[in-house]
């Protein structure tokens, strides 16, 4: 029987992150999640941390706390993200900075701290979250797409830096999944977006879980630095 995995997931209070946490709990794993707000999951194998993913000290404290409790981290899923869907010319600088803080700096900080923990066992899986908005060059999502482009580039370079240490780093690029993140996007725009996919439907949390499961599989130890988009979108 395989032992319980220690899975760290960011942004677990709602949407895809909450779905991922619930899935891994159903698999029997131990999940440590975080969000700016108090957690909404209640489970004996779930521990929630209230923090901003761009707060370096808070991220360091969370990862050290997980290590103190469990002695290892098997997987990190950098799901936390925010969107700013607006024309670039009417996007306030403060909004652009906030998007980069959460999407890029949050991913960077969690990768850095979790990878240090994973180095101790020379094993680990990191999955970052990209988006089809980047390869589709979606108008109205310039800042969001740019922040996720940074995540993609970071993922690929980090994969090379951590490859010799037995840690894989990949990213999943979901299509729109009906969550709070896209609730403000007009339906006509969403229809046009789906039309650019090879398979024209909304993604589901199950679609995301499928790719994450693949990256986390012990048999995927030769898969790193890859960005897998859903829906037949190409990078």
């Amino acid at each position: 029987m395989s032992r319980k995995r220690i899975v760290v997931i960011t942004g677990t209070s709602r949407g895809i992150g909450r779905g991922l946490a619930a899935y891994f709990l159903r698999q029997g794993d131990i999940v440590c999640g975080c969000s700016r707000k108090p957690g909404t999951l209640r489970h004996e194998r779930y521990r929630h941390f209230v923090l901003d993913v761009a707060d370096e000290k808070a991220v360091v404290a969370m990862i050290r706390s997980v290590m103190a409790d469990h002695g290892r981290i098997d997987a990190l899923l950098n799901n936390a993200g925010i969107a700013a869907m607006n024309h670039a010319l009417i996007t306030p600088d403060s909004v652009a900075r906030a998007v980069f803080a959460t999407n890029f700096h949050g991913t960077f900080l969690f990768c850095r701290e979790a990878a240090k923990a994973m180095l101790r066992r020379k094993a680990g899986r990191i999955v970052n979250f990209a988006t089809v908005a980047t390869p589709l060059r979606l108008e109205g999502e310039a800042i969001y797409a740019a922040s996720k482009a940074a995540v993609e580039s970071f993922t690929q370079v980090l994969a090379r830096e951590l490859g010799p240490s037995g840690i894989t780093v990949n990213a999943v690029g979901p299509t729109p999944v009906p969550t709070d993140l896209i609730k403000s996007v007009p339906p006509a725009k969403m229809t046009a977006l789906l039309a650019r996919q090879a398979i024209r439907r909304f993604g589901s949390i199950k679609d995301v879980i499928n790719v994450v499961d693949f990256f986390l599989s012990p048999r995927s130890d030769f898969i790193t630095g890859q960005i897998v988009y859903l829906g037949g979108v190409n990078g």
């Binding site: 360091v60 990878a115 180095l119 101790r120």
Partner: protein
């Protein structure tokens, strides 16, 4: 005066403890007890060794001093002479971080 002396004694004790922790954490044994080079020209560690060493050292410092220190700070990166260069500079740098 008495207070200052106590602080100084404690700092010295910490310095010895930090230095020993640095030496114990090094993945490759140094040849003697002097101030030997860790990283850079003539250093015992390559860049990948250094990353592993610093990550390990952060956890050991946390265990020994209960402080969540990040060694790759802006201060470390901006110093003309890298604090990771040798045992003495790394020890002094950690003492500074512990004092913050």
């Amino acid at each position: 005066m008495g207070n200052r002396r106590r602080v100084s004694t404690r700092t010295q004790a910490s310095a010895a403890k930090v230095r020993q922790l640095v030496l114990d954490t090094l993945p490759k044994p140094l040849s003697g007890q002097g101030n030997e080079t860790i990283f850079g020209p003539g250093g015992v560690l390559d860049s990948l060794d250094l990353v592993n060493f610093l990550a390990d050292l952060e956890y050991r410092l946390d265990e020994s001093f209960e402080r969540k220190i990040v060694l790759a700070s802006e201060r470390a990166m901006s110093q003309h002479r890298s604090p990771f260069r040798d045992v003495d500079s790394l020890t002094a740098y950690i003492i500074e971080l512990l004092a913050e």
